[in-house]
């Protein structure tokens, strides 16, 4: 495996071949904000938060999915990217009902942190205020679709790490919804092993342990990467 040298924000960075720009940047201590990315899971490039500018390409590319190459010149923090990231987070806050003051994940929420990180102080768009379902049919967990950002981290962790694929998405566009099994209440989803990995993977207060109250849900998303790494070592 050969090493590649690239420049990120003007700093020369060395990276392994096949490594993503995101990993190379993080190794070098350069933070690129992300949302749908979770260490240990496959990448989907869906949230568009980690888009970066690459010299010679007129299209913005997701850092999580773009492989490094020799001599690549990457910019991760230009005014345009900052503006776009803030606007994307605004769109998310306007999409469903993200009310931090009454959320179980407040203070431990990646969406909330992201909003602070990108400097989103207000939302310029109409709040769509959809009426979303709260499913508490499962014995141990609940899912509040009002707080779901459709990052599909739960879908991927359930499929790729737990291996049961209880979660998936249905519908399209603004009506896309997370579903369990063949669109049955979570409590009736026979494939669910109640392992709780989706809870650990969820960046917001959408998936929560039943009985938790405002700001009580603390999670450790890093556990997913540790499980994946430990399995890899055993094999």
């Amino acid at each position: 495996m050969s090493a590649k040298t690239l420049s990120i924000n003007g700093t020369l960075v060395s990276a392994r071949e096949e490594e993503s720009i995101l990993d190379a940047a993080r190794d070098a201590g350069i933070a690129i904000p992300t949302l749908c990315h979770l260490e240990g899971l496959s990448e989907v490039g869906a949230c568009r938060i980690c888009l970066v500018e690459i010299a010679g390409s007129n299209k913005l590319q997701p850092a999580c999915l773009t492989k490094v190459s020799e001599g690549m010149q990457v910019e991760t923090d230009t005014p345009r990217l900052r503006e776009y990231r803030r606007a994307i987070v605004e769109l998310l806050f306007a999409e469903r009902n993200h009310v931090c003051a009454v959320c179980v994940a407040s203070g431990h929420c990646e969406l909330q942190n992201l909003a602070l990180q990108v400097g989103m102080s207000h939302v310029r768009y109409d709040y769509l205020s959809p009426s979303c379902h709260v499913d508490v049919s499962h014995q141990r967990f609940g899912i509040d679709h009002n707080r779901c950002v459709l990052c599909t981290r739960c879908v991927r962790v359930c499929d790729e790490v737990e291996g049961v694929h209880t979660w998936d998405v249905a519908g399209r566009g603004i009506n896309i919804r997370l579903i369990s099994d063949m669109n049955v209440p979570w409590g009736q989803a026979e494939s669910c092993t109640s392992c709780g990995k989706c809870l650990q993977a969820c960046p917001t207060g959408a998936i929560f342990p039943r009985g938790s109250s405002v700001a009580e849900v603390e999670r450790d998303p890093g556990v997913i990467a540790r499980i994946v790494a430990a399995r890899g070592e055993r094999q």
């Binding site: 490039g45 769109l91 998310l92 109409d126 566009g173 603004i174």
Partner: protein
């Protein structure tokens, strides 16, 4: 099967034919206004006239002049009838003897017909698409035979590259280059996919080709398979095209029975199978990565490229994806030669393009014209302007991914670069004409509503951005928007264009941006009225 058998089929077909053929269009457009019944009445009228030894009624595909349907043409060199009602069938037959006839005739010298250059639509309206013999009698499958016996895959790709053919799905990627990439990609298994998921509002070019000349597309796919090294093709057709699907099924079965599809085609080592996959109504499945996911049986949503399908497509194998019209160009190019094809069109856009001319235009239908013809010639001369003679305001090309070009720019030649410079795109070929009664804000809102409904929901800018754009446009249209809303609209257009994952989102703001560019006064009038 060898070439002499192919010629024998063609000869048998030609000698079977009766001297006078009454062609009755039974493609979807004419069928929708009663051509099935008309066809039946024509058959009865011929029988009643006692001339069935010399006259036959043939069910043919699209003749292009859809606005005049149902269409009937008498061959050879007979009159062209339009708006034929079933009860007029006997009049049409009597007219063969020169009897006076009240059925409306169309003028074959009208620019709508005379400006056309049928290459892809050569057989459209001339052969019965449900009989492979008619296709073979029109020199069908001889090109495939010649390619398999006399040409190497590299020679086929070289011809295509030299012809200058570019993808007719809209983006205009050089076809020869794409074929070359797939041919060079390493992999035991490769696939050819024909994208027939035509979904732009007002566009029906692919439907017409599939319904009228299905074997032309099958032959193109076979040649593609030979050139890139694939043994399996998939024809992805949207479920809303039942007649195209049924005619393709018939065509595939007929070709298989003759050994033109399957193993050891024309006694060579080349095997090729074609299966149909039916789309379930998602516009986004026209995007190639979403289409691949759909064929694989997964949720039809796009994934970021690279890797491009040419490298890693269907089930991770190198896959060639071409649009219907692109594949329909293959046989004519190889038959006529790359130089002949490259002599048609402009410097960078070669050949012809099929357009679906619709909207506020006198003559609606399907036209095939050489690249480089001006919009004025198409809209004013061929289309005949608006039905009431009022001035044309603009023409929309490229559907929800395209833009509006105002009448002041009608001298723009129709080619990939010129249309892009005018803020629109070639697109798949939809051309919607508008007169002064169309409000451009409302038009932009219509296309945004379409994109909003068709967004798959995977990426945030498209899923939520299109909804917010639609809201802003609705507010402007209702006259309740502030100047700040107009700024926000512009900013959001840039965001959705630059950050969306696939072409659907990236191009969704185009109708807004192009109407803002040319008709900003209409937006501002609605905003100022509120102040």
């Amino acid at each position: 099967m060898d070439i002499s058998e192919l010629h024998a089929i063609a000869d048998r077909e030609r000698s079977r034919r009766k001297p006078i053929r009454i062609h009755c269009c039974t493609a979807s457009g004419c069928q929708a206004i009663g051509s099935t019944e008309l066809h039946r009445q024509l058959v009865q009228a011929v029988q009643a006239s006692g001339r069935d030894d010399e006259v036959e009624v043939v069910s043919v595909g699209c003749m292009g002049f859809c606005g005049g349907g149902p269409l009937v043409v008498v061959e050879p060199n007979g009159p062209r009838f339009e708006h034929v009602r079933p009860e007029q069938a006997s009049e049409v037959v009597a007219a063969l003897d020169g009897a006076p006839c009240t059925v409306q005739r169309s003028d074959p010298h009208h620019p709508f017909f005379s400006h056309q250059l049928p290459v892809v639509l050569r057989n459209g309206g001339r052969i019965d698409p449900e009989r492979i013999e008619e296709y073979i009698a029109a020199d069908g499958y001889q090109t495939l035979y010649r390619v398999l016996h006399d040409m190497t895959p590299a020679e086929v790709i070289e011809q295509l590259t030299r012809s200058g053919l570019r993808g007719r799905g809209g983006a205009g990627y050089p076809t020869g280059l794409k074929w070359g990439t797939v041919a060079k990609s390493r992999g035991e298994q490769k696939y050819v996919v024909c994208n027939g998921d035509e979904g732009d509002p007002g566009a029906f070019m692919d439907r017409s080709v599939l319904e009228s000349d299905p074997h032309l597309v099958l032959e193109g796919m076979c040649i593609a398979g030979y050139a890139v090294g694939a043994n399996q093709g998939y024809l992805y057709v949207r479920g809303e095209y039942p007649q195209a699907i049924s005619r393709l099924r018939t065509a595939i079965n007929q070709a298989r029975r003759l050994g033109i599809l399957g193993s050891q085609i024309f006694d060579t080592t080349f095997d090729f199978k074609i299966d149909i996959r039916i789309g379930a109504g998602a516009f986004v499945c026209g995007e190639e990565t979403a289409l691949i996911a759909s064929i694989e049986g997964k949720r039809g949503q796009p994934r970021p490229r690279p890797p491009y399908p040419a490298e890693s497509g269907l089930w991770g194998c190198p896959t060639l994806i071409n649009n219907v019209e692109t594949l329909a160009n293959i046989v004519p190019i190889l038959r006529g030669g790359a130089d002949w094809y490259a002599s048609i069109g402009t410097e960078r856009s070669k050949g012809t393009k099929v357009f679906a001319l619709t909207g506020k235009v006198r003559h609606t239908g399907l036209i095939e014209v050489p690249m480089g013809m001006t919009l004025r010639e198409i809209v004013e001369d061929m289309g005949g302007g608006t039905p009431d003679g009022s001035p044309v305001k603009a023409v929309q090309t490229g559907g929800p991914s395209g833009g509006c070009i105002p009448a002041s720019l009608f001298d723009t030649p129709v080619d990939y670069e010129s249309l892009a410079a005018a803020g629109s795109i070639m697109g798949s070929g939809g051309m919607v004409v508008m007169d002064s009664s169309t409000n451009m804000v409302e038009l932009a809102r219509f296309y945004m509503e379409f994109c909003m409904d068709e967004s798959c929901g995977k990426c945030i800018p498209c899923r939520v951005g299109t909804v917010q754009l639609h809201r802003l446009l609705s507010r402007i249209h209702q006259g309740i928007a502030s100047p700040a809303d107009l700024d926000l609209l512009t900013q959001l257009c840039s965001l959705v264009r630059d950050t969306s994952l696939c072409g659907l989102g990236q191009s969704a703001p185009n109708p807004v941006l192009s109407t803002l560019r040319y008709f900003r006064d209409e937006y501002e009038a609605l905003i100022q009225r509120h102040d």
